[in-house]
Structures are given as structure tokens and as C-alpha cells.
């Protein structure tokens, strides 16, 4: 769609007459973005705070006093099932994110760049998993595994996660690839690049932001899934499963600390990638002209 609008004007934009007014209001959007992100972080702050709590009983609901003892590795790693759950969740998250991102991105490419028989059916088949209530997916998959005599466990969790992540990946990547401007690829081909080189040097960088966003979404979906996982987990425990079960007795502060550490790893990853991005300009993005 709308490919005619998408042609690139080459002339640098002339400074418009509205620059002045624009400057005055330039703080609005960044502040707004900051507020929304802060809003998303509110519960995280509470989680971090209660990782430093010293609860009187087994429930960690009420602030009773400051302590750092839960960060002591002996205390932190006290619950081996929780440790294993964290390990499982991360491993399952990474594997299913990788597989679903690859599968989903390929489908997104095919859907937006090729016309072929079965497109409509594929489109429908892709968004039905999103429309199915989780419990139905969980029960239906379990029935399949039982009928095939497959023992549920780590592998079946990964299978189910890949299954429900694919659709989300396709939709996200498609938001990037639809109305894709192919003139750059054609140019590369005209310059003698083979399809493989064209893909990696032109196509991939162009759709990378979509793939990145999709993989983050897939990871978040995977590490946070409870319902589908609970049906297909067998003896394997993930973070949501353990925490949900523990909530009957009282979720220990160690869960908050683990959450905080995972969050910290995320933050470090962000910082490192900005730093590297600054140095290498690794992720090509259209040049941005500040207001």
C-alpha cells in the first residue's frame, strides 16, 4: 500500500516557518514519554523495595524494616526449585524467542513481499492462536502430547511457547515490512549483489527494528506465561508456576530479589548496547534531524 508516497525526496528540507513554535513545545513529547515509562516502572519499584524488606511472618506484603540479607547468595539461592525455575524460564524464553522470531519473521517477509496461494488461509491461521483463550490452547496441546505418548516437560513447554509467540512476531514484523520500499533492494541487485548479500546488507537492516521489537515481545510473553505452561510443564517448573504455587504459603522475598536481578541484567544490557551502538552505529536507522 501507499508505495507512491514512500518515494524518497532527496532535497534537504528547507527550514519551515514553524520552527519557533516547535522549539517552545519541544519538551512536551519527551516529558510525556518519560511519564509513561515511569508509569510502566511503578510496580517494578515496589518489587525492588520489597526485596529489601524484612517480613515478620511468611508474607511479604507489609514493610517491616530494611535488610540486605536476601542478597546474600546463601539466602538468595535457598530455594533450589526457585533457582531451577529461574534457569528454566530464561532458557525456555531464549530458545522459544529465537525459534519463533526466525519462523515468524520469515512468514512476515513472505506475506508482505510475495503473492501466493494460501495467503488468506495463512493469515487466518496466524491470528487464530491469538484469539484462542489460553486455557484452550493449553488443554488442546496437552491432549495432543498425551495422544502421541510424549512426556510433557521442558521440550513441550518450548513447543507451546513457540506456537503462541509466532503470531505476535508475524504481526509485529509485518508492521515494518508492509509497504516495504523495494527500490533499495533493486538498486543493490543492479549493482551486482547476489540475493544473499542483498538480504543481509539491505533488507535485514531495514526490517531489523521490527525483528528486535518482535523478539522482545516474544521473550516477555514466554517468561510471563502461566496458563499454557501449567498444562504442558510436566515436572518442569518455571518462574510463574513456582510463584503462583508459592503464593498459597507466601511468596518469599527471594522472588523479589531474583526479579530485581533479572531487571538489573536487562538494564545493563540496555546500557551496554547503547554504548556499543554509539561506538559502532551498529543498528542502522534513518538519520534523525533534531527539531
Amino acid at each position: 500500500m501507499a508505495t507512491q508516497v514512500e518515494t524518497k525526496p532527496t532535497a534537504p528540507p528547507a527550514p519551515g516557518p514553524h520552527k519557533e513554535r516547535r522549539k517552545k513545545r519541544a519538551w512536551i513529547l519527551p516529558t510525556y514519554t518519560g511519564v509513561i515509562i515511569a508509569y510502566l516502572f511503578i510496580p517494578i519499584l515496589v518489587m525492588i523495595m520489597f526485596g529489601f524488606n524484612e517480613p515478620a511472618g511468611r508474607y511479604n506484603f507489609q514493610w517491616e524494616g530494611f535488610t540486605t540479607k536476601w542478597y546474600n547468595p546463601d539466602r538468595l539461592l535457598e530455594f533450589e526449585d526457585l533457582n531451577e525455575a529461574v534457569k528454566n524460564s530464561l532458557l525456555i524464553g531464549v530458545i522459544s524467542t529465537f525459534v519463533s522470531t526466525v519462523f515468524g519473521s520469515l512468514i512476515a517477509l513472505a506475506l508482505t513481499r510475495h503473492r501466493f496461494r494460501g495467503r488468506a488461509g495463512l493469515n487466518l491461521g496466524l491470528f487464530l492462536p491469538m484469539a484462542s483463550p489460553e486455557v484452550v490452547l493449553g488443554v488442546a496441546l496437552l491432549a495432543l502430547f498425551v495422544s502421541l505418548n510424549v512426556n510433557t516437560g521442558f521440550v513441550t513447554i518450548v513447543i507451546s511457547h513457540v506456537m503462541f509467540c509466532i503470531s505476535y512476531v508475524v504481526v509485529t514484523v509485518k508492521a515494518r515490512t508492509s509497504g516495504f520500499d523495494r527500490s533499495l533492494e533493486d538498486a543493490a541487485k543492479d549493482l551486482g549483489a547476489d540475493p544473499w548479500t542483498t538480504f543481509w546488507t539491505v533488507t535485514f537492516p531495514l526490517i531489523f527494528p521490527g525483528i528486535l521489537a518482535a523478539s522482545l515481545l516474544a521473550f516477555a510473553l514466554s517468561v510471563d506465561d502461566y496458563v499454557i505452561t501449567s498444562f504442558n510443564a510436566g515436572g518442569t517448573v518455571t518462574i510463574p508456576l513456582w510463584v503462583y504455587g508459592a503464593s498459597r504459603i507466601g511468596v518469599p522475598p527471594q522472588v523479589n530479589v531474583m526479579g530485581t536481578l533479572l531487571f538489573g541484567i536487562g538494564v545493563i544490557y540496555v546500557l551496554v548496547s547503547i554504548f556499543r551502538g554509539r561506538r559502532q552505529g551498529a543498528v542502522p536507522s534513518p538519520p534523525v534531524k533534531a527539531g
Binding site: A14, T33, A110, R115, V135, A143, V171
Partner: protein, 285 residues
């Protein structure tokens, strides 16, 4: 786009093969079973048998129409609110985020890597009747003593909006980021009015993102049950809660399955209508 498509090529089939195969085996086949289950009769101890009992559908429709329409209404509200909330943010990140775009992207999603229960518990701590927020306001007599947020529709909607915001923001960002900034500048000059430029260039070009974001928000939000479960009250039960209970507690698989397919059918119809309105060819291909 159409240029190449005349000639038959194996490329699109090869691209879709792994994903499509996966979905066929692990989604379509099991869902076929479920579909047949929705026409069964019986109970979990003596077993269910297929009798073509289509009344499962009419039974659940008459019994749970309130929850069904409430869920659709919640889904619509959540989609609209998240769209309005996240568009300006996605726009700013995409247009002015500079080299830190990916940082913002990750920041939006980081909170969602922590267990849902922990996040919800935090909200309940903050929104309790005597919490820092409500308790203080009540102390200043700005709110009546009996005022509450938890256990109301407001709480469920807030929970849904909070949890689905990234699902809207990410595709919006992805679509907006694609736009050539010089195009926008040119448009600004052309229409001599920023609002005009936005309405005529930016917004139409971001429609794939709006569509994708709405799908990712509306569909799972309608079927959600956990927000209503943990934040809601006695009059906020959603269809997801009913389905969950039919399957897990009542073990009434036929009715649960019928309700699920009813829900899916309504969503499919709704989405196709929406695609028509937006004029996108995303779905119809």
C-alpha cells in the same frame, strides 16, 4: 510489489514452511480436536461422547451473554486508551529517539520480564483502600471514605491497559520508525500546518502499525482473565474467567470449548470489519 508475483516461485512457500508446519501440528490439529469436543455431551467421570450436540453453543450464549459483551466492551476501551496513550510516545521515540531508540524499546518491555503476580501485587499495594495514594487523598478529604479503586471496572481496565500498553506501543513504533523524516518535513512545508501534515502523511503511513497494535491488544485483552481475577470485583467477570473455570474447575470441556469458539468467532468477525474500515489489506491479503 506485484511485479514479481506473476511467475510461480517456491520462495514464499519455503519462507512460510517452518512456521506454518509448526502451527499446523501444534495449533490447528489440537484445535480440531477441541472443535469436535464442543459438540460432545457427557461429564468428566463417565466421559464425553460426540453427539453433534450444537446446543452447547446456544446454552453458553444465553447463559454468559453479559460476560461476553462486557469483555468485548473492555477490549474496545483498552484498545482505544492504549492507542491514545502510546501513539505520542511511539511517535517521539521513532522520530526523535536518536541513537537511543532501542534503549527506549527495551525500557518499555523490561517491566514485563518480571512475574505477573509480583507486578499485580504491587498495584494492589498502591491502590488499596488505605494505601499511600487513596489513604492520603482520603486523609485530605479529597475522596469519600468509602471510595475504592480495587474490585471495580476501573481496576480491571487499568490492569489491562497497563499490561497491554507495550503490545500497542511496539508495532506503532515499528511502523513510525520506518518513515523517512525528510518526507515529513516536506509535508510540513507542503501543508503549511503541522496538524494537516500529521493527518495527511504521518497518520496514514502509520496505519499498519495502528492495525497491528490493535490486533495485539484487542484480541488477547478480550480473552484475558487474570486481570479480572486479581484486580476485579463481583461485577467485572470476563468471558476468559468463565472459560477458565469451565475447563479447570468444572471440567466441562464441551461448554468451555463452545464458549471459546464463540469468542474466537466474534473476534474474527470484529477484526475483519476493522480491517475493512481501515482499508488495510493485511488480513484479506
Amino acid at each position: 510489489m506485484a511485479r514479481r508475483s506473476r511467475r510461480w516461485s517456491p520462495v514464499p512457500y519455503l519462507l512460510t514452511l517452518p512456521g506454518a508446519l509448526w502451527l499446523t501440528v501444534f495449533f490447528i490439529v489440537p484445535m480440531f480436536t477441541m472443535f469436535s469436543v464442543s459438540f460432545q455431551e457427557g461429564n468428566f467421570e463417565e466421559g464425553f461422547v460426540f453427539t453433534g450436540y450444537w446446543q452447547n453453543y446456544t446454552n453458553v450464549l444465553t447463559r454468559y451473554d453479559t460476560q461476553l459483551f462486557r469483555s468485548l466492551a473492555y477490549g474496545l476501551i483498552v484498545t482505544l486508551v492504549t492507542l491514545c496513550l502510546s501513539y505520542p510516545m511511539a511517535y517521539w521515540i521513532a522520530r526523535r529517539g536518536g541513537k537511543n531508540k532501542n534503549l527506549f524499546l527495551l525500557l518499555i518491555l523490561l517491566p514485563f520480564f518480571t512475574p505477573f503476580i509480583i507486578r499485580t501485587l504491587a498495584w494492589k499495594q498502591l491502590l488499596g483502600d488505605n494505601s499511600i495514594i487513596l489513604g492520603t487523598l482520603k486523609g485530605w478529604n479529597l475522596l469519600p471514605e468509602s471510595y475504592q479503586v480495587l474490585a471495580t471496572s476501573t481496576a480491571v481496565l487499568s490492569g489491562l491497559i497497563y499490561n497491554f500498553l507495550p503490545f500497542m506501543a511496539l508495532p506503532l513504533y515499528v511502523a513510525l520508525e520506518r518513515m523517512d523524516p525528510s518526507l515529513l518535513d516536506a509535508a510540513t512545508d507542503l501543508y503549511s500546518n503541522r496538524r494537516q501534515a500529521f493527518l495527511r502523511v504521518t497518520l496514514p503511513l502509520s496505519l499498519p502499525g495502528v492495525f497491528a497494535g490493535s490486533l495485539l491488544t484487542f484480541i488477547p485483552a478480550v480473552g484475558d482473565f487474570i486481570n479480572a481475577d486479581l484486580l476485579g470485583g463481583v461485577n467485572t467477570v470476563m468471558i476468559g474467567n468463565v472459560i477458565q473455570r469451565e475447563f479447570v474447575t468444572n471440567l466441562d470441556y464441551p461448554e468451555g470449548a463452545a464458549l471459546s469458539f464463540l469468542l474466537m468467532g466474534m473476534i474474527v468477525i470484529g477484526v475483519f470489519l476493522y480491517a475493512r474500515v481501515l482499508g488495510t489489506e493485511e488480513l484479506t491479503g
